[in-house]
């Protein structure tokens, strides 16, 4: 028995006081700055929630830096998408009433003040895409082109309303983006200054549209909304699911041990461990991210685990001695080593996550490790202390009332049979395990690595429904941005141009400085001032223009051949089937050009010269929204941005798109040297996922080796160490094999589960093997031992499996899929790890007993 447990058993009250005070202190340290920030000392940090998947990558990660740079360069913001659908009207929303509502909604959104602090901007009103905020370019009688608001006022008639659909559908930038393909629905795009405003924006919109009566349905979606909504629901989840799991574990323990007062102990341990860990997390300035929000759910089963071992052992032994202090001593003597090692291995498993390249996963790993360690410390002190604090009388009737009776309990009988079976049919068990493992490997090879933050919500969640409704009707609500940057300067040497100038200009430049365009230009302009004749003045003016034209050749994305290349790329993007629609500079140019030429469809094309492109764009800049141009190209025309709308936010699809574009670019060289790159949230998700998969694999391999070394040290035998690794290896293989077979995507929660398996599955093996060795020493041969192993030790393991396995099923009721996933898999991992421990390990010991017990004769 450890000194610390000894001390706790002697001074139980002191330890409880200490633990309670510490918990209260941490609760206060978190609550004060969170609830009353003005009164809190500055070194305390408030609780802050972070649901931004961007933070899966560290801020200086190149892909994130690029993302932010390009967002700024092209004036882009995260967008909330509001779909407006009317299923009762044959024209959909294109009727007088529905559009009046849309008109009012847009006005309302423009007037919203989401940030009380005036320095921060909320909705970027200038960039809202709605019928009343965009320009319609069209013919206005002979020889005229007009720029009018698409919907300057609420329509006066249904015919007016229908006309809006027809007009919008004619403009490629709006077709399938603003107006649906069937011209019955609308989508409004609302850019916001910061993602964390999206939830309050969505709420405001919901309140506003509740007042409308035209029968429109409003779907609010877009990645920012999903993320923000997730943050809100994460809180609900933490507040409901975790305590519910706690309650169920409590009920099950009560069913096993029938002593309410006694089983309060593991609950206290788990609670304090969670409070201390989360408190530490917050006061050290870490945000509560989706990953760290799961810390309590991971700590609880592990915290309860050891306490259940103690109670189970105490329960079985109490009657033998009838003395509380003595029993505690015996139990703690038996369990200290396995408990220490199970803790160390679990800590090693989670701490290994600190080596992944993903900051939230690092934080998660480190703090679960801390939590597990705290849980161990609390278990070995508070549980004995608690037992010592109980009145003798409350232990009355506790434990094996009749030894024979308990041995006859269904669980006990079942385990006895199981023990016998592993001894008699050892080879069969091993054979089946090998068979299952081979199948598992096959399943693992079929695993699809994929994630999609919108799918973190369950199918019937409003966000998922909105996602579905809008992606059925529009080009897509997932945004990705493809940039092309010119690598070629294309400007010749200044002196080369002189020979191409008129004789008048050459005469001026004779003897002048021709080393730079600027110097030549200045010389020509100075000569213009003294020019007598208009003809000379004009000739010099032409020369200046020629020089200016030469310097402008660097403006790559005004070149018709480059625009044609982009057009080809756009066509290819559409053909991949991954892109619903692409919006790019050629679309703007072609639309304006068409309207300059009577709006005839055959004039929907790129003009023939760079100057013609420039003048077409100059015309566009006379509209209400000239700034829209700079979402597609930088003012120096050296870099362009293609806005792609994807119907799917699955990383798998985004990844396929990235590869398809790489292939296209390799096979179709551009007329000038261009480099291409991606940004946007959908793309960022792919990058962090890739990092996570490899990161988790490396972390897992690393911790596997560490745990193996620990096991070898614990059992002072490599073979026993290896044996201890088997249940977790088989469990992980089977779980991931199953994931592959079922077709469940390998996403973030699934990736993290490997660490949990490592932590939990090895625990059972440690307890089983440690007790087996202790008992084998007492009983001599394995044959004599196996029955005893399948007594109390097997019962403790089985109870653990049931309590924790069932205890986490309430997570299935969660509306957030990652929690459901974790719930299902924790249960599966526990059941499987328990089964493998109780079946495979004794079978292997049976077959290899001569190896494992070299001194005994094996029988």
């Amino acid at each position: 028995m450890l000194v610390i447990s000894e001390h706790a058993a002697r001074r139980p009250k002191l330890w409880f006081w200490f633990a309670s005070l510490l918990s209260l202190l941490l609760i206060a340290a978190v609550a004060v700055p969170s609830l009353a920030p003005e009164t809190a000392p500055s070194f305390l940090r408030p609780l802050s929630i972070d649901t931004d998947p961007e933070n899966m990558l560290s801020p200086d990660e190149p892909v994130r830096v690029f993302h932010n740079e390009k967002k700024a360069a092209f004036g882009l913001y995260d967008m909330v998408v509001v779909g407006v659908v009317n299923e009762t009207n044959p024209n959909g929303v294109f009727n007088q009433q529905s559009l009046s509502d849309v008109y009012n909604l847009t006005r309302y959104i423009k007037s919203l003040d989401l940030t009380p602090d005036s320095s921060k901007r909320g909705v970027i009103t200038a960039d809202i895409i709605a019928p009343s905020t965009v320009d319609n370019i069209e013919q206005a009688g002979l020889g005229a082109v007009s720029f009018n608001w698409l919907m300057p006022d609420a329509p006066k008639s249904d015919a007016d309303a229908k006309a809006i659909a027809t007009k919008a559908a004619r403009i490629p930038l709006f077709d399938n983006t603003l107006v649906s393909g069937d011209r019955k629905a609308l989508a409004l795009y609302i850019p916001i200054a910061s993602k964390d405003l999206s939830y309050s924006l969505a709420k405001s919109i919901q309140t506003e549209v509740a007042k409308y009566t035209s029968g429109n349905r409003y779907y609010i979606t877009g990645l920012p909304v999903a993320q923000d909504q997730f943050g809100v629901e994460m809180f609900v989840q933490m507040a409901i699911s975790a305590p519910m799991a706690m309650l169920l574990i409590f009920a099950l323990m009560w069913w096993f041990f029938r002593n309410l007062k006694l089983i309060v102990a593991p609950m206290i341990v788990a609670m304090i461990a969670v409070i201390l860990t989360m408190g530490l997390l917050v006061i050290t300035g870490h945000t509560v991210h989706i990953m760290s929000s799961m810390i309590p759910i991971f700590i609880m089963p592990i915290a309860v685990l050891d306490a259940v071992h103690i109670l189970s052992d105490f329960f079985d032994k109490y009657r033998e001695t009838g003395d509380r202090a003595k029993t505690v001593r015996v139990v703690m003597d038996e369990l200290s080593a396995p408990m220490l090692y199970t803790t160390l291995t679990t800590c090693a498993g989670f701490a290994s996550l600190a080596f992944t390249p993903i900051p939230p996963v690092q934080v998660f790993g480190v703090f679960v490790a801390i939590g597990v360690f705290l849980a161990w410390l609390l278990t070995i002190t508070l549980v004995p202390a608690y037992i010592m604090l109980m009145k003798e009388s409350s232990l009355e009737g506790f434990g094996f009332v009749e030894n024979a009776g308990e041995e006859q309990s269904p669980l006990a009988r079942f385990l006895k049979k199981m023990g016998g079976f592993t001894f008699a049919r050892a080879k069969l068990v091993i054979f089946i395990t090998i068979l299952v493992s081979v199948g598992a490997v096959y399943g693992i090879n079929r695993i699809e690595i994929n994630d999609n933050p919108v799918k973190w919500f369950s199918k019937d969640h409003p966000i998922r429904q909105a996602d579905k409704a809008l992606n059925e009707r529009f080009a897509g609500t997932y945004m990705a941005y493809l940039t092309l940057a010119s690598q070629d300067k294309m400007v010749g040497a200044p002196s080369d141009i002189v020979s191409s100038l008129s004789p008048d200009a050459q005469a001026v430049l004779k003897g002048a400085d021709t080393s730079s365009f600027k110097a030549m230009r200045q010389a020509l302009i100075a000569a213009q001032d003294t020019a007598e004749s208009d003809a000379l003045w004009d000739a010099l003016d032409e020369a200046v223009l020629k020089i200016d034209t030469a310097t402008q050749t660097s403006e790559t994305f005004k070149r018709p051949d480059v625009l044609a290349y982009m057009e080809k790329l756009q066509k290819f993007l559409l053909e991949t089937g991954l892109v619903g629609k692409s919006n790019a500079l050629p679309d703007v140019v072609k639309t304006v050009y068409r309207e300059l030429y009577q709006g005839a469809d055959e004039n929907y094309r790129i003009p023939e010269t760079s100057a013609a492109v420039a003048q077409t764009l100059l015309t566009y800049e006379s509209s209400h929204r000239p700034q829209d141009l700079w979402h597609f190209v930088t003012p120096d025309f050296r870099e362009t941005n293609m806005w792609l709308q994807l119907k799917s936010g699955d990383n798998r699809d985004m990844k396929a798109l990235v590869e398809a574009v790489d292939t296209f670019v390799a096979q179709n060289p551009a007329p000038v040297a261009l480099s291409h790159n991606w940004f946007g949230l959908t793309y960022i998700n792919v990058i962090w996922q890739e990092k996570m998969v490899t990161g988790m694999l490396e972390a897992f391999a690393g911790s596997f080796v560490i745990v193996l070394l620990l096991m070898t040290a614990l059992f002072r035998s490599f073979w026993w160490g290896l044996l201890a690794m088997l249940p977790l290896t088989v469990t992980i293989a089977v779980i991931y094999g199953l994931i592959g077979f079922v077709g469940k995507d390998y996403d973030m929660p699934v990736a993290v589960l490997s660490a949990l398996s490592l932590g939990l599955a090895v625990d059972y093996a440690i307890h089983f093997l440690a007790r087996s060795r202790q008992l084998a020493i007492r009983y001599g041969s394995w044959h004599n031992t196996v029955g005893h192993v399948f007594g109390e030790p097997a019962r403790a393991i089985a109870r653990n499996v049931i309590v924790i396995g069932v205890g986490f099923l309430p997570l299935l009721a969660a509306p957030l899929v990652p929690y459901q996933t974790v719930g299902v898999f924790i249960s599966a991992i526990l059941v499987l790890a328990g089964a493998v421990t109780l079946l495979l390990l004794p079978s292997l010991i049976t077959v290899f007993s001569t190896h494992l017990f070299p001194k005994s004769n094996g029988e």
Partner: protein
Amino acid sequence: MKLRVLSFVAALALTSPALSIDAKDVVLKANHASYYQGKDGKAKVTMTITDTQGRTRVRDFTILRRDQGDSDGAQKFYVYFRGPADVAKTVFMVWKKEAGDDDRWMYLPALDLVKRIAASDERTSFVGSHFFYEDVSGRGPDEDTHELTEETDNYYVLKSTPKDTGAAEFAYYVSYIHKATFLPVQIQYFDAQGENYRTYEALNVDTIKGYPTVTAARMSDKRIGGSTEMSYSDVQYDKGINDAIFSERYLRNPPRRELR
């Protein structure tokens, strides 16, 4: 609030004889000072558009202007682009009318195309700058109701509210009109929430041929971010610009002498 302003104005009117001038007078004089100095005019303009990122684009053009009559009503403009090179020789021509929509044309030399530009309102961008077309050609004094809200030593402060609220994106604007010259030195545009989102500032005033003239001005817009500066050089008045120049024929054949 409105009541208080009114009573404040009324109080001032009782004590200060200077306020005997009424809002309408100030507006008409300001309109004249800004857009109708001399019978005609010419200026070379360098327009620098700066975006939120601090990136700049420069447009050079020459403006010719000729008034039709003395009533501060109809005018004709001829805007000839010199740079950037790829839009050089583009012409923007306006026939501003006393009442009703102006006629606007654009000549695009690379397409050899003359196009009439029709717009629902005059608050579209002037060739991609932060200035609206209307800021360059002038907003009709009758389009708003004006109210003299304050008078300082140097300025008349006017609050102008559009009569047709649908045709303008602002709720009202406040102009600070210099008493001596009647040039607006600052105009602040406010939205329905009372936020000043757009501001015009006269940066420099020179007296040319006896006419006080704004030779540098800036328009900034918080909604789209950034600002545009226009600086005027070679400003001339009463050159006797021929009315025939402001015709479709001269779009394709720019008047060399006048543009020099």
